[in-house]
Amino acid sequence: MSGTSSPALRGPRRRLMPRYLGVSVLLWAVLAIFAILAIIGWAVLLVPSLSSLWTDQSLRSTFLPPFSDGFPLGTDNLGRNFAWRLIAGIGVSVFVGALVAVISVTLGLALGIFAGYFGRAADAGTNVVIDVTWAFPEILLAIVLAGVLGPGLEAVILALSLTGWAAFARIVRGEVLSLRERDYVAASRVLGYGKVRISVRHLLPNLIPITLVMTVYFMAVAIVAEAGLSFLGLGAQPPTPSLGGILSQGRDYLNSSWWPVVLAGLALSLMVLTLNYVSDGLRDHLDPRVGGRR
Protein backbone atom coordinates (compact mmCIF):
# COMPACT_ATOMS: atom_id res chain seq x y z
CA MET A 1 0.00 0.00 0.00
CA SER A 2 1.33 3.47 0.70
CA GLY A 3 4.73 3.46 2.27
CA THR A 4 3.97 6.43 4.50
CA SER A 5 4.01 4.67 7.86
CA SER A 6 7.68 4.66 8.64
CA PRO A 7 9.02 2.15 11.16
CA ALA A 8 10.08 5.04 13.38
CA LEU A 9 6.44 5.91 14.07
CA ARG A 10 5.67 2.40 15.22
CA GLY A 11 8.12 2.36 18.07
CA PRO A 12 10.16 -0.66 19.04
CA ARG A 13 8.38 -4.00 19.28
CA ARG A 14 9.42 -6.38 21.99
CA ARG A 15 9.42 -9.99 20.93
CA LEU A 16 9.00 -12.53 23.70
CA MET A 17 9.31 -15.52 21.41
CA PRO A 18 11.90 -16.21 18.76
CA ARG A 19 10.46 -16.29 15.28
CA TYR A 20 10.92 -18.53 12.32
CA LEU A 21 9.73 -17.33 8.90
CA GLY A 22 8.00 -14.43 10.62
CA VAL A 23 5.92 -16.71 12.81
CA SER A 24 6.40 -17.22 16.53
CA VAL A 25 7.91 -20.55 17.54
CA LEU A 26 4.93 -21.02 19.84
CA LEU A 27 2.58 -21.02 16.86
CA TRP A 28 4.74 -23.52 14.98
CA ALA A 29 4.60 -25.74 18.07
CA VAL A 30 0.79 -25.57 18.22
CA LEU A 31 0.68 -26.35 14.52
CA ALA A 32 2.99 -29.32 15.04
CA ILE A 33 0.76 -30.65 17.82
CA PHE A 34 -2.26 -30.47 15.55
CA ALA A 35 -0.30 -32.21 12.79
CA ILE A 36 0.63 -35.03 15.15
CA LEU A 37 -2.96 -35.33 16.40
CA ALA A 38 -4.14 -35.41 12.79
CA ILE A 39 -1.72 -38.22 11.93
CA ILE A 40 -2.88 -40.22 14.95
CA GLY A 41 -6.43 -39.46 13.84
CA TRP A 42 -5.75 -40.83 10.35
CA ALA A 43 -4.24 -43.98 11.85
CA VAL A 44 -7.28 -44.50 14.05
CA LEU A 45 -9.64 -43.86 11.13
CA LEU A 46 -7.86 -45.96 8.53
CA VAL A 47 -6.49 -48.94 10.46
CA PRO A 48 -9.49 -51.27 10.88
CA SER A 49 -8.28 -52.85 14.12
CA LEU A 50 -8.08 -49.43 15.77
CA SER A 51 -11.57 -48.31 14.81
CA SER A 52 -13.06 -49.82 17.98
CA LEU A 53 -11.35 -47.00 19.89
CA TRP A 54 -13.85 -44.46 18.56
CA THR A 55 -16.81 -46.68 17.69
CA ASP A 56 -17.22 -48.75 20.87
CA GLN A 57 -20.44 -47.79 22.55
CA SER A 58 -21.50 -48.46 26.09
CA LEU A 59 -24.90 -47.30 27.21
CA ARG A 60 -23.85 -47.77 30.83
CA SER A 61 -21.27 -45.01 30.57
CA THR A 62 -23.00 -42.24 28.63
CA PHE A 63 -22.29 -38.56 29.33
CA LEU A 64 -19.30 -39.25 31.58
CA PRO A 65 -17.59 -35.92 32.26
CA PRO A 66 -13.90 -35.39 31.44
CA PHE A 67 -11.30 -36.98 33.75
CA SER A 68 -13.46 -40.08 34.29
CA ASP A 69 -11.75 -43.46 34.66
CA GLY A 70 -10.41 -44.52 31.28
CA PHE A 71 -12.05 -41.56 29.53
CA PRO A 72 -9.74 -38.53 29.84
CA LEU A 73 -12.18 -36.31 27.93
CA GLY A 74 -15.36 -38.11 28.99
CA THR A 75 -17.92 -39.85 26.79
CA ASP A 76 -20.70 -38.74 24.47
CA ASN A 77 -24.40 -39.58 24.31
CA LEU A 78 -23.65 -43.17 23.21
CA GLY A 79 -20.89 -43.70 25.76
CA ARG A 80 -18.13 -43.50 23.14
CA ASN A 81 -14.65 -42.39 24.13
CA PHE A 82 -14.70 -38.68 23.34
CA ALA A 83 -10.94 -38.18 23.30
CA TRP A 84 -10.54 -40.60 20.39
CA ARG A 85 -13.52 -39.13 18.57
CA LEU A 86 -12.02 -35.66 18.90
CA ILE A 87 -8.64 -36.81 17.58
CA ALA A 88 -10.25 -38.62 14.66
CA GLY A 89 -12.33 -35.49 13.98
CA ILE A 90 -9.18 -33.36 13.88
CA GLY A 91 -7.75 -35.89 11.42
CA VAL A 92 -10.77 -35.47 9.14
CA SER A 93 -10.58 -31.67 9.39
CA VAL A 94 -6.88 -31.46 8.59
CA PHE A 95 -7.20 -33.91 5.70
CA VAL A 96 -10.10 -32.03 4.11
CA GLY A 97 -8.47 -28.65 4.80
CA ALA A 98 -5.12 -29.59 3.27
CA LEU A 99 -6.62 -31.26 0.21
CA VAL A 100 -9.03 -28.39 -0.48
CA ALA A 101 -6.25 -25.83 0.00
CA VAL A 102 -3.94 -27.60 -2.44
CA ILE A 103 -6.64 -28.06 -5.08
CA SER A 104 -8.01 -24.52 -4.88
CA VAL A 105 -4.55 -22.96 -4.88
CA THR A 106 -3.53 -25.01 -7.92
CA LEU A 107 -6.72 -24.09 -9.77
CA GLY A 108 -6.35 -20.47 -8.71
CA LEU A 109 -2.75 -20.31 -9.93
CA ALA A 110 -3.57 -21.87 -13.28
CA LEU A 111 -6.63 -19.71 -13.96
CA GLY A 112 -5.07 -16.56 -12.53
CA ILE A 113 -2.06 -16.86 -14.83
CA PHE A 114 -4.37 -17.77 -17.71
CA ALA A 115 -6.45 -14.63 -17.11
CA GLY A 116 -3.51 -12.35 -16.56
CA TYR A 117 -1.17 -13.49 -19.30
CA PHE A 118 -3.06 -15.22 -22.08
CA GLY A 119 -4.81 -12.33 -23.73
CA ARG A 120 -7.97 -10.33 -23.39
CA ALA A 121 -10.45 -13.06 -24.27
CA ALA A 122 -8.94 -15.37 -21.66
CA ASP A 123 -9.09 -12.56 -19.13
CA ALA A 124 -12.71 -11.66 -19.85
CA GLY A 125 -13.82 -15.29 -19.85
CA THR A 126 -12.08 -16.10 -16.59
CA ASN A 127 -13.43 -12.96 -14.97
CA VAL A 128 -17.00 -13.88 -15.81
CA VAL A 129 -16.52 -17.32 -14.28
CA ILE A 130 -14.93 -15.75 -11.19
CA ASP A 131 -17.77 -13.25 -10.82
CA VAL A 132 -20.45 -15.92 -11.15
CA THR A 133 -18.67 -18.01 -8.52
CA TRP A 134 -18.23 -14.87 -6.45
CA ALA A 135 -21.96 -14.09 -6.67
CA PHE A 136 -22.72 -16.97 -4.33
CA PRO A 137 -21.45 -16.81 -0.78
CA GLU A 138 -18.98 -19.75 -0.58
CA ILE A 139 -21.00 -21.69 1.89
CA LEU A 140 -24.12 -21.34 -0.28
CA LEU A 141 -22.39 -22.77 -3.34
CA ALA A 142 -20.91 -25.49 -1.19
CA ILE A 143 -24.35 -26.32 0.22
CA VAL A 144 -25.86 -26.42 -3.27
CA LEU A 145 -23.05 -28.64 -4.58
CA ALA A 146 -23.14 -30.89 -1.55
CA GLY A 147 -26.88 -31.14 -2.14
CA VAL A 148 -26.30 -32.11 -5.76
CA LEU A 149 -23.55 -34.65 -5.09
CA GLY A 150 -25.24 -36.06 -2.04
CA PRO A 151 -23.88 -35.59 1.46
CA GLY A 152 -20.41 -36.90 2.21
CA LEU A 153 -16.78 -35.88 2.48
CA GLU A 154 -16.11 -36.26 -1.27
CA ALA A 155 -18.89 -33.77 -1.97
CA VAL A 156 -17.49 -31.37 0.61
CA ILE A 157 -13.97 -31.53 -0.82
CA LEU A 158 -15.20 -31.01 -4.37
CA ALA A 159 -17.61 -28.25 -3.39
CA LEU A 160 -15.05 -26.31 -1.38
CA SER A 161 -12.31 -26.68 -4.00
CA LEU A 162 -14.63 -25.48 -6.73
CA THR A 163 -15.57 -22.38 -4.73
CA GLY A 164 -12.26 -21.54 -3.09
CA TRP A 165 -10.14 -20.97 -6.19
CA ALA A 166 -11.95 -17.83 -7.37
CA ALA A 167 -10.61 -15.53 -4.67
CA PHE A 168 -7.05 -16.71 -5.28
CA ALA A 169 -7.31 -16.55 -9.07
CA ARG A 170 -8.19 -12.88 -8.75
CA ILE A 171 -5.14 -12.20 -6.57
CA VAL A 172 -2.85 -14.14 -8.93
CA ARG A 173 -4.26 -12.26 -11.91
CA GLY A 174 -3.44 -8.96 -10.25
CA GLU A 175 0.11 -10.07 -9.51
CA VAL A 176 0.60 -11.39 -13.03
CA LEU A 177 -0.58 -8.09 -14.52
CA SER A 178 2.34 -6.35 -12.84
CA LEU A 179 4.85 -9.20 -13.29
CA ARG A 180 4.33 -9.41 -17.03
CA GLU A 181 5.59 -5.85 -17.45
CA ARG A 182 8.97 -6.72 -15.94
CA ASP A 183 12.08 -6.52 -18.06
CA TYR A 184 13.03 -10.17 -17.76
CA VAL A 185 9.62 -11.21 -19.06
CA ALA A 186 10.01 -8.83 -21.99
CA ALA A 187 13.52 -10.20 -22.55
CA SER A 188 12.24 -13.78 -22.60
CA ARG A 189 9.58 -12.77 -25.09
CA VAL A 190 12.18 -11.20 -27.32
CA LEU A 191 14.19 -14.42 -27.12
CA GLY A 192 11.17 -16.16 -28.55
CA TYR A 193 10.05 -18.18 -25.57
CA GLY A 194 6.41 -19.23 -25.51
CA LYS A 195 3.83 -18.05 -23.02
CA VAL A 196 3.64 -21.37 -21.24
CA ARG A 197 7.39 -21.48 -20.77
CA ILE A 198 7.51 -17.89 -19.50
CA SER A 199 4.63 -18.64 -17.12
CA VAL A 200 6.43 -21.60 -15.63
CA ARG A 201 9.93 -20.14 -15.59
CA HIS A 202 9.26 -16.53 -14.64
CA LEU A 203 5.74 -15.98 -13.38
CA LEU A 204 5.32 -19.06 -11.21
CA PRO A 205 8.49 -18.61 -9.08
CA ASN A 206 7.43 -15.04 -8.30
CA LEU A 207 4.04 -16.27 -7.16
CA ILE A 208 5.41 -18.79 -4.66
CA PRO A 209 5.32 -16.49 -1.59
CA ILE A 210 1.70 -15.43 -2.04
CA THR A 211 0.82 -19.04 -2.86
CA LEU A 212 2.29 -20.29 0.42
CA VAL A 213 0.44 -17.62 2.37
CA MET A 214 -2.85 -18.37 0.67
CA THR A 215 -2.47 -22.14 1.03
CA VAL A 216 -2.34 -21.75 4.79
CA TYR A 217 -5.21 -19.28 4.70
CA PHE A 218 -7.38 -21.52 2.51
CA MET A 219 -6.71 -24.41 4.84
CA ALA A 220 -8.23 -22.41 7.69
CA VAL A 221 -11.21 -21.41 5.54
CA ALA A 222 -11.75 -24.97 4.32
CA ILE A 223 -11.58 -26.41 7.83
CA VAL A 224 -14.29 -24.01 8.99
CA ALA A 225 -16.41 -24.66 5.91
CA GLU A 226 -16.11 -28.43 6.25
CA ALA A 227 -17.14 -28.21 9.88
CA GLY A 228 -20.05 -25.96 8.89
CA LEU A 229 -21.27 -28.33 6.19
CA SER A 230 -20.89 -31.34 8.47
CA PHE A 231 -22.77 -29.36 11.12
CA LEU A 232 -25.64 -28.93 8.68
CA GLY A 233 -25.59 -32.65 7.94
CA LEU A 234 -24.16 -32.27 4.43
CA GLY A 235 -20.59 -33.35 5.24
CA ALA A 236 -19.13 -36.39 6.96
CA GLN A 237 -21.88 -38.87 7.76
CA PRO A 238 -22.53 -40.06 11.32
CA PRO A 239 -20.26 -42.98 12.08
CA THR A 240 -17.30 -40.90 10.84
CA PRO A 241 -16.41 -38.42 13.55
CA SER A 242 -15.87 -34.85 12.34
CA LEU A 243 -15.71 -31.68 14.38
CA GLY A 244 -18.83 -30.31 12.69
CA GLY A 245 -20.72 -33.53 13.32
CA ILE A 246 -19.62 -33.60 16.97
CA LEU A 247 -20.82 -30.00 17.37
CA SER A 248 -24.18 -30.67 15.78
CA GLN A 249 -24.73 -33.78 17.92
CA GLY A 250 -23.51 -31.98 21.02
CA ARG A 251 -26.02 -29.21 20.38
CA ASP A 252 -28.89 -31.64 21.05
CA TYR A 253 -27.42 -32.65 24.40
CA LEU A 254 -26.28 -29.28 25.70
CA ASN A 255 -28.45 -29.75 28.78
CA SER A 256 -26.73 -32.93 29.88
CA SER A 257 -23.18 -32.49 28.60
CA TRP A 258 -21.27 -29.35 27.72
CA TRP A 259 -17.87 -30.88 26.95
CA PRO A 260 -18.37 -32.20 23.39
CA VAL A 261 -19.42 -28.76 22.15
CA VAL A 262 -16.84 -26.84 24.16
CA LEU A 263 -13.91 -29.15 23.39
CA ALA A 264 -14.68 -29.59 19.70
CA GLY A 265 -15.33 -25.85 19.40
CA LEU A 266 -12.07 -25.12 21.15
CA ALA A 267 -10.08 -27.49 18.94
CA LEU A 268 -11.64 -26.03 15.80
CA SER A 269 -11.14 -22.41 16.85
CA LEU A 270 -7.57 -22.99 18.01
CA MET A 271 -6.70 -24.70 14.73
CA VAL A 272 -8.19 -21.84 12.68
CA LEU A 273 -6.66 -19.14 14.88
CA THR A 274 -3.22 -20.71 14.57
CA LEU A 275 -3.48 -21.08 10.80
CA ASN A 276 -4.66 -17.47 10.46
CA TYR A 277 -1.74 -16.20 12.54
CA VAL A 278 0.73 -18.33 10.62
CA SER A 279 -0.60 -17.07 7.31
CA ASP A 280 -0.46 -13.44 8.53
CA GLY A 281 3.09 -13.87 9.80
CA LEU A 282 4.22 -15.59 6.62
CA ARG A 283 2.75 -12.80 4.55
CA ASP A 284 4.46 -10.06 6.51
CA HIS A 285 7.70 -12.01 6.33
CA LEU A 286 7.64 -13.06 2.68
CA ASP A 287 5.91 -10.06 1.19
CA PRO A 288 6.47 -6.91 3.26
CA ARG A 289 4.72 -4.81 0.62
CA VAL A 290 1.27 -5.96 1.64
CA GLY A 291 1.08 -5.61 5.39
CA GLY A 292 -2.58 -4.79 4.82
CA ARG A 293 -4.54 -6.71 7.39
CA ARG A 294 -2.68 -5.64 10.46
Partner: protein, 311 residues
Protein backbone atom coordinates in the same frame (compact mmCIF):
# COMPACT_ATOMS: atom_id res chain seq x y z
CA UNK B 1 -22.74 7.10 -17.86
CA UNK B 2 -21.23 4.58 -20.23
CA UNK B 3 -19.53 2.97 -17.28
CA UNK B 4 -22.83 2.73 -15.39
CA UNK B 5 -24.53 1.00 -18.33
CA UNK B 6 -21.58 -1.33 -18.71
CA UNK B 7 -21.59 -2.21 -15.04
CA UNK B 8 -25.36 -2.83 -15.00
CA UNK B 9 -25.12 -4.92 -18.17
CA UNK B 10 -22.38 -6.99 -16.64
CA UNK B 11 -24.42 -7.51 -13.48
CA UNK B 12 -27.33 -8.75 -15.60
CA UNK B 13 -25.00 -11.17 -17.41
CA UNK B 14 -23.69 -12.54 -14.12
CA UNK B 15 -27.23 -12.93 -12.79
CA UNK B 16 -28.24 -14.80 -15.95
CA UNK B 17 -25.29 -17.19 -15.61
CA UNK B 18 -26.01 -17.59 -11.92
CA UNK B 19 -29.58 -18.56 -12.75
CA UNK B 20 -28.22 -21.21 -15.13
CA UNK B 21 -26.02 -22.52 -12.31
CA UNK B 22 -28.81 -22.71 -9.73
CA UNK B 23 -31.16 -24.28 -12.24
CA UNK B 24 -28.72 -26.82 -13.58
CA UNK B 25 -27.24 -27.75 -10.22
CA UNK B 26 -30.57 -28.51 -8.64
CA UNK B 27 -32.07 -30.35 -11.62
CA UNK B 28 -29.05 -32.54 -12.28
CA UNK B 29 -29.06 -33.61 -8.64
CA UNK B 30 -29.56 -37.32 -8.05
CA UNK B 31 -32.74 -38.26 -6.28
CA UNK B 32 -36.00 -36.88 -7.41
CA UNK B 33 -38.41 -34.43 -5.89
CA UNK B 34 -41.14 -36.97 -6.56
CA UNK B 35 -39.51 -39.60 -4.39
CA UNK B 36 -39.47 -37.20 -1.48
CA UNK B 37 -43.18 -36.46 -2.00
CA UNK B 38 -44.59 -39.87 -2.79
CA UNK B 39 -43.42 -43.20 -1.55
CA UNK B 40 -42.07 -44.92 -4.70
CA UNK B 41 -42.68 -48.44 -3.43
CA UNK B 42 -46.36 -48.02 -2.62
CA UNK B 43 -47.42 -45.50 -5.28
CA UNK B 44 -48.41 -46.96 -8.68
CA UNK B 45 -45.98 -45.95 -11.47
CA UNK B 46 -48.64 -44.22 -13.53
CA UNK B 47 -49.47 -41.89 -10.65
CA UNK B 48 -45.77 -41.02 -10.38
CA UNK B 49 -45.60 -40.40 -14.13
CA UNK B 50 -48.65 -38.18 -13.89
CA UNK B 51 -47.06 -36.15 -11.11
CA UNK B 52 -43.85 -35.79 -13.10
CA UNK B 53 -45.83 -34.55 -16.07
CA UNK B 54 -47.90 -32.08 -14.06
CA UNK B 55 -44.71 -30.58 -12.61
CA UNK B 56 -42.99 -30.44 -15.99
CA UNK B 57 -40.22 -32.75 -14.81
CA UNK B 58 -40.54 -34.93 -17.94
CA UNK B 59 -39.60 -32.13 -20.35
CA UNK B 60 -36.05 -31.70 -21.66
CA UNK B 61 -33.84 -29.60 -19.39
CA UNK B 62 -33.64 -26.56 -21.66
CA UNK B 63 -37.43 -26.39 -21.86
CA UNK B 64 -37.58 -26.63 -18.11
CA UNK B 65 -35.12 -23.75 -17.92
CA UNK B 66 -37.22 -21.60 -20.27
CA UNK B 67 -40.28 -22.28 -18.12
CA UNK B 68 -38.25 -21.42 -15.06
CA UNK B 69 -36.85 -18.20 -16.57
CA UNK B 70 -40.27 -17.09 -17.78
CA UNK B 71 -41.59 -17.68 -14.29
CA UNK B 72 -38.78 -15.67 -12.72
CA UNK B 73 -39.41 -12.71 -15.01
CA UNK B 74 -43.14 -12.66 -14.29
CA UNK B 75 -42.70 -13.06 -10.55
CA UNK B 76 -43.93 -16.66 -10.55
CA UNK B 77 -41.38 -18.81 -8.77
CA UNK B 78 -43.40 -22.00 -8.95
CA UNK B 79 -44.85 -24.10 -6.18
CA UNK B 80 -43.02 -25.82 -3.38
CA UNK B 81 -42.87 -29.57 -3.99
CA UNK B 82 -43.12 -30.44 -0.33
CA UNK B 83 -45.92 -28.31 1.05
CA UNK B 84 -47.56 -27.07 -2.17
CA UNK B 85 -47.20 -23.41 -1.14
CA UNK B 86 -46.29 -20.81 -3.77
CA UNK B 87 -42.52 -20.28 -3.57
CA UNK B 88 -43.18 -16.53 -3.61
CA UNK B 89 -44.94 -16.76 -0.21
CA UNK B 90 -42.07 -18.74 1.27
CA UNK B 91 -39.58 -16.22 -0.09
CA UNK B 92 -41.51 -13.23 1.24
CA UNK B 93 -41.98 -14.74 4.70
CA UNK B 94 -38.34 -15.73 4.87
CA UNK B 95 -37.12 -12.39 3.55
CA UNK B 96 -38.78 -10.46 6.37
CA UNK B 97 -37.11 -12.66 8.99
CA UNK B 98 -33.71 -12.59 7.30
CA UNK B 99 -33.70 -8.85 6.62
CA UNK B 100 -34.61 -8.16 10.26
CA UNK B 101 -31.69 -10.24 11.42
CA UNK B 102 -29.21 -9.00 8.82
CA UNK B 103 -30.12 -5.38 9.45
CA UNK B 104 -29.68 -5.76 13.19
CA UNK B 105 -26.31 -7.42 12.63
CA UNK B 106 -25.28 -4.73 10.14
CA UNK B 107 -26.08 -1.98 12.65
CA UNK B 108 -24.21 -3.75 15.44
CA UNK B 109 -21.20 -4.48 13.20
CA UNK B 110 -20.80 -0.91 11.98
CA UNK B 111 -22.02 0.76 15.18
CA UNK B 112 -19.31 -0.95 17.20
CA UNK B 113 -16.72 -1.62 14.50
CA UNK B 114 -16.24 1.93 13.18
CA UNK B 115 -15.80 3.80 16.52
CA UNK B 116 -13.63 1.01 17.93
CA UNK B 117 -11.46 1.03 14.80
CA UNK B 118 -11.03 4.81 14.92
CA UNK B 119 -10.13 4.79 18.62
CA UNK B 120 -7.69 1.93 18.12
CA UNK B 121 -6.00 3.77 15.28
CA UNK B 122 -5.74 7.05 17.16
CA UNK B 123 -4.23 5.29 20.15
CA UNK B 124 -2.06 2.99 18.14
CA UNK B 125 -0.21 0.26 20.05
CA UNK B 126 -1.94 1.32 23.26
CA UNK B 127 -3.55 -1.22 25.56
CA UNK B 128 -6.94 -0.43 24.01
CA UNK B 129 -5.54 -1.02 20.51
CA UNK B 130 -4.09 -4.35 21.52
CA UNK B 131 -7.28 -5.50 23.22
CA UNK B 132 -9.36 -4.46 20.20
CA UNK B 133 -7.01 -6.27 17.84
CA UNK B 134 -6.99 -9.34 20.04
CA UNK B 135 -10.79 -9.46 20.17
CA UNK B 136 -10.84 -8.82 16.44
CA UNK B 137 -8.63 -11.73 15.51
CA UNK B 138 -10.50 -13.90 18.01
CA UNK B 139 -13.85 -13.24 16.35
CA UNK B 140 -12.21 -13.62 12.98
CA UNK B 141 -11.08 -17.12 13.87
CA UNK B 142 -13.88 -18.57 15.96
CA UNK B 143 -16.33 -20.05 13.45
CA UNK B 144 -19.75 -18.48 13.90
CA UNK B 145 -21.53 -21.73 14.62
CA UNK B 146 -19.07 -22.47 17.41
CA UNK B 147 -19.64 -18.99 18.82
CA UNK B 148 -23.38 -19.59 18.53
CA UNK B 149 -23.22 -22.86 20.46
CA UNK B 150 -21.02 -21.37 23.19
CA UNK B 151 -23.36 -18.39 23.61
CA UNK B 152 -26.38 -20.73 23.71
CA UNK B 153 -24.62 -22.88 26.29
CA UNK B 154 -23.80 -19.92 28.52
CA UNK B 155 -26.77 -17.57 28.16
CA UNK B 156 -29.59 -19.97 27.34
CA UNK B 157 -28.76 -23.32 28.91
CA UNK B 158 -26.75 -22.29 31.98
CA UNK B 159 -27.93 -18.79 32.89
CA UNK B 160 -31.38 -19.13 31.27
CA UNK B 161 -31.44 -15.42 30.43
CA UNK B 162 -32.25 -15.87 26.76
CA UNK B 163 -34.20 -18.45 24.76
CA UNK B 164 -32.30 -21.24 22.99
CA UNK B 165 -33.96 -20.72 19.62
CA UNK B 166 -37.12 -19.73 17.80
CA UNK B 167 -38.90 -16.43 17.30
CA UNK B 168 -41.48 -14.43 19.21
CA UNK B 169 -39.94 -11.92 21.57
CA UNK B 170 -37.12 -9.42 21.26
CA UNK B 171 -35.01 -11.76 23.36
CA UNK B 172 -34.87 -14.20 20.45
CA UNK B 173 -33.11 -11.63 18.27
CA UNK B 174 -30.16 -11.00 20.60
CA UNK B 175 -28.07 -14.16 20.25
CA UNK B 176 -28.40 -14.60 16.47
CA UNK B 177 -27.62 -10.91 15.95
CA UNK B 178 -24.48 -11.08 18.07
CA UNK B 179 -23.28 -14.23 16.32
CA UNK B 180 -23.97 -12.79 12.88
CA UNK B 181 -22.33 -9.46 13.72
CA UNK B 182 -19.16 -10.81 15.35
CA UNK B 183 -17.00 -11.43 12.29
CA UNK B 184 -18.21 -8.47 10.16
CA UNK B 185 -17.65 -6.27 13.22
CA UNK B 186 -14.08 -7.51 13.55
CA UNK B 187 -13.45 -6.91 9.85
CA UNK B 188 -14.98 -3.41 9.95
CA UNK B 189 -12.81 -2.59 12.93
CA UNK B 190 -9.66 -3.75 11.19
CA UNK B 191 -10.37 -1.95 7.93
CA UNK B 192 -11.33 1.27 9.76
CA UNK B 193 -8.18 1.09 11.84
CA UNK B 194 -5.87 0.53 8.87
CA UNK B 195 -7.55 3.25 6.86
CA UNK B 196 -7.50 5.81 9.68
CA UNK B 197 -3.82 5.12 10.32
CA UNK B 198 -3.13 5.68 6.64
CA UNK B 199 -5.04 8.96 6.57
CA UNK B 200 -3.58 10.14 9.87
CA UNK B 201 -0.12 10.00 8.31
CA UNK B 202 -1.17 11.56 5.02
CA UNK B 203 0.22 14.89 3.86
CA UNK B 204 -3.05 16.79 4.12
CA UNK B 205 -3.42 15.78 7.76
CA UNK B 206 0.02 17.02 8.57
CA UNK B 207 -0.75 20.29 6.82
CA UNK B 208 -3.95 20.71 8.82
CA UNK B 209 -2.08 20.09 12.06
CA UNK B 210 0.70 22.47 11.04
CA UNK B 211 -1.89 25.15 10.44
CA UNK B 212 -2.92 24.83 14.06
CA UNK B 213 -6.26 23.11 13.66
CA UNK B 214 -7.08 21.26 16.90
CA UNK B 215 -6.15 17.57 16.89
CA UNK B 216 -9.64 16.39 17.78
CA UNK B 217 -11.15 18.22 14.85
CA UNK B 218 -8.52 16.90 12.47
CA UNK B 219 -9.05 13.32 13.65
CA UNK B 220 -12.81 13.15 13.88
CA UNK B 221 -13.67 15.34 10.90
CA UNK B 222 -10.97 15.22 8.25
CA UNK B 223 -9.31 11.88 8.89
CA UNK B 224 -12.54 10.03 9.59
CA UNK B 225 -14.31 11.39 6.52
CA UNK B 226 -11.48 10.32 4.26
CA UNK B 227 -11.27 6.91 5.88
CA UNK B 228 -14.96 6.17 5.51
CA UNK B 229 -14.62 5.55 1.77
CA UNK B 230 -12.92 2.25 2.30
CA UNK B 231 -15.33 1.38 5.10
CA UNK B 232 -18.33 2.08 2.87
CA UNK B 233 -16.90 0.03 0.04
CA UNK B 234 -16.59 -2.77 2.54
CA UNK B 235 -20.39 -2.76 2.79
CA UNK B 236 -20.86 -4.83 -0.37
CA UNK B 237 -18.43 -7.48 0.86
CA UNK B 238 -20.14 -7.47 4.22
CA UNK B 239 -23.55 -8.15 2.68
CA UNK B 240 -22.11 -11.20 0.97
CA UNK B 241 -20.50 -12.40 4.19
CA UNK B 242 -23.67 -11.81 6.19
CA UNK B 243 -25.82 -13.71 3.69
CA UNK B 244 -23.40 -16.61 3.78
CA UNK B 245 -23.49 -16.68 7.56
CA UNK B 246 -27.27 -16.49 7.82
CA UNK B 247 -27.39 -19.95 6.24
CA UNK B 248 -25.86 -21.58 9.29
CA UNK B 249 -26.88 -19.12 11.99
CA UNK B 250 -30.56 -19.35 11.05
CA UNK B 251 -30.42 -23.13 11.18
CA UNK B 252 -28.83 -23.08 14.63
CA UNK B 253 -31.36 -20.67 16.08
CA UNK B 254 -34.27 -22.16 14.12
CA UNK B 255 -34.89 -18.69 12.72
CA UNK B 256 -37.44 -18.99 9.89
CA UNK B 257 -35.48 -16.93 7.35
CA UNK B 258 -34.21 -17.52 3.84
CA UNK B 259 -31.12 -19.35 5.04
CA UNK B 260 -32.84 -22.04 7.05
CA UNK B 261 -35.51 -22.38 4.34
CA UNK B 262 -32.76 -22.92 1.77
CA UNK B 263 -30.94 -25.56 3.79
CA UNK B 264 -34.24 -27.30 4.50
CA UNK B 265 -35.28 -27.23 0.84
CA UNK B 266 -31.94 -28.68 -0.26
CA UNK B 267 -32.18 -31.49 2.27
CA UNK B 268 -35.77 -32.12 1.02
CA UNK B 269 -34.77 -31.84 -2.65
CA UNK B 270 -37.42 -29.18 -3.07
CA UNK B 271 -36.02 -27.82 -6.35
CA UNK B 272 -38.24 -24.77 -6.94
CA UNK B 273 -37.70 -23.41 -3.44
CA UNK B 274 -33.98 -24.19 -3.36
CA UNK B 275 -33.17 -22.67 -6.74
CA UNK B 276 -35.33 -19.60 -6.13
CA UNK B 277 -33.65 -18.95 -2.78
CA UNK B 278 -30.11 -19.61 -4.00
CA UNK B 279 -30.68 -17.33 -6.97
CA UNK B 280 -32.25 -14.66 -4.80
CA UNK B 281 -29.20 -14.60 -2.52
CA UNK B 282 -26.89 -14.45 -5.55
CA UNK B 283 -28.90 -11.58 -7.05
CA UNK B 284 -28.62 -9.63 -3.81
CA UNK B 285 -24.85 -10.15 -3.78
CA UNK B 286 -24.47 -9.10 -7.44
CA UNK B 287 -26.60 -5.99 -6.96
CA UNK B 288 -24.75 -5.10 -3.76
CA UNK B 289 -21.37 -5.38 -5.44
CA UNK B 290 -22.50 -3.39 -8.49
CA UNK B 291 -23.94 -0.67 -6.23
CA UNK B 292 -20.72 -0.77 -4.22
CA UNK B 293 -18.60 -0.17 -7.33
CA UNK B 294 -20.87 2.63 -8.55
CA UNK B 295 -21.09 4.29 -5.15
CA UNK B 296 -17.33 4.17 -4.76
CA UNK B 297 -16.78 5.83 -8.11
CA UNK B 298 -19.34 8.45 -7.26
CA UNK B 299 -17.96 9.15 -3.78
CA UNK B 300 -14.29 9.15 -4.71
CA UNK B 301 -13.35 10.17 -8.25
CA UNK B 302 -9.75 9.16 -7.62
CA UNK B 303 -10.70 5.55 -7.81
CA UNK B 304 -10.03 3.73 -11.02
CA UNK B 305 -12.19 0.66 -10.81
CA UNK B 306 -9.97 -2.35 -11.16
CA UNK B 307 -12.54 -4.80 -9.75
CA UNK B 308 -10.07 -6.02 -7.17
CA UNK B 309 -10.81 -6.93 -3.64
CA UNK B 310 -10.93 -10.05 -1.58
CA UNK B 311 -12.25 -10.12 1.90
Amino acid sequence: MWYVLQRVGYAVLVIFLASLVTFAALRVAPGDAITSMLNPTTTPPDVIAQYRQSLGLDLPLWEQYLMYARGLLTGDFGISLTDRQPVMDIVLNGAVATITLALAAFIVAFGIGVPAGVLAALHRDSLFDRIVRGIGSFFNSVPNFVLALILVLVFAVQLRWLPVSGIGSWKNVILPTLVLAADPCALTMRVTRTSVIEQANADFTRTLRARGIPGGRVNWVHVLRNSLNSVVSLGAVQIRTLLGYTLIVEVIFRWPGLGSQLVQSILNRDYPVASALALLLAVVVVIASALGDLALRWVDPRIRVSSGGSA
